[in-house]
Amino acid sequence: MTIDETGLKSLMLAGLDGDAASHRALLGQLSGRLRAYYRGKLARIGRGAVEAEDLVQEAILAIHLKRHTYDPAEPLTPWVHAIARYKLIDFLRRTRTSVADVPIDEADNIAAHDDNVDAESTFDVRRLMERLPKNMRCSIEAVKLDGLSIAEAAKRCGISEPGVKMSIHRGLKTLAAMIARETQA
């Protein structure tokens, strides 16, 4: 039941340097742990697995968008836990459940088994993306879904390369906000 701090941290550091495979592995492993964490928390207040999956995806997006806030001098686990816990409290406030109903525990309890990788969340990112402004949608589709390079995406969307990068960043942030709104029960 112990979280692999060293392994995850080295994946995180490689991901910060731009190594996509490491980043993918990191998010994959963390999503399993987050799933177990949120299911445990939500089960205690009678919420289902779908809501847990929404939270997993919110937390994964936050971890991705806020990865520049990780200080490599510090261990990774507390940073992840702080985000996971913040998103949980935020979710409970949005869905008007008293925070007092949920026991919030200490940093090391994120580690747990992952039993159902196939769970789906309530929202569909592709459907949400249709609501994004054109440049953001085009940039994310080109680079993140179709795997084009920044230069190819710039040509396809008819904007500059820095414009593509900024559109992706802003678009993901907007998506995260939409997901948060979408999961309001």
């Binding site: 495979a21 994959g28 520049h68 806030t69 940073w79 993140k144």
Partner: protein, 213 residues
Amino acid sequence: MKTDELVTLLSTNLEPVDRRSIARTIYFALGAGSIVALGLSLVGLGVRADLTTAHAFMFLVMKLAFAFGIVGLALVYLTKLARPGGERKTPSFLVIMPFLVIVVLAAISLALAPSSHWEKMIVGDQWLECLISIPIIAIVPFAISMWVVRRAAPTDLARAGAFAGLAAGGVSAMAYALHCTDDSLPFIAVWYGGTIVLCTLAGAALGPRLLRW
């Protein structure tokens, strides 16, 4: 949508990240806030006329040292508290040091003076101006700090807000010191210290509302 698809989406064509951007942005924000505060103080209030005298200069330096100490400490903590989980292992009691020092110095200077001077030393001539000016000058630095701190994703919003307020109050006190002609340690302790504490409390109160991300 499956979480796995989201993970794939986020990892495709990953961009490297600048790890030092948090500290740099916060320093930059406070720098910009200081410029605005200085401008407001110089244009709105003007530099004190007697700055060429040694006495006035000495007190200006003292006020600046007090404010600098606060801003410096606030910055150290703010760069930690702005990050997720930054409140962990960050005992922030050290931040009362500048206040403690000024209160002790003020007490000594009161003890050395005859009690008939005490009221003048504490209340000064412009206590009301000080009480109003420092929070007003602090507004812009506070807004800029809150904006950058929010983007960094703090998870203890009240504490992060308090430290943004503290830093803004310190910056504002630096700017106001250029104008202020009340030269006594008890005055600095009560009115500078008090208004900076006020800014801190305001930050703590506004943090949970303004810093949500």
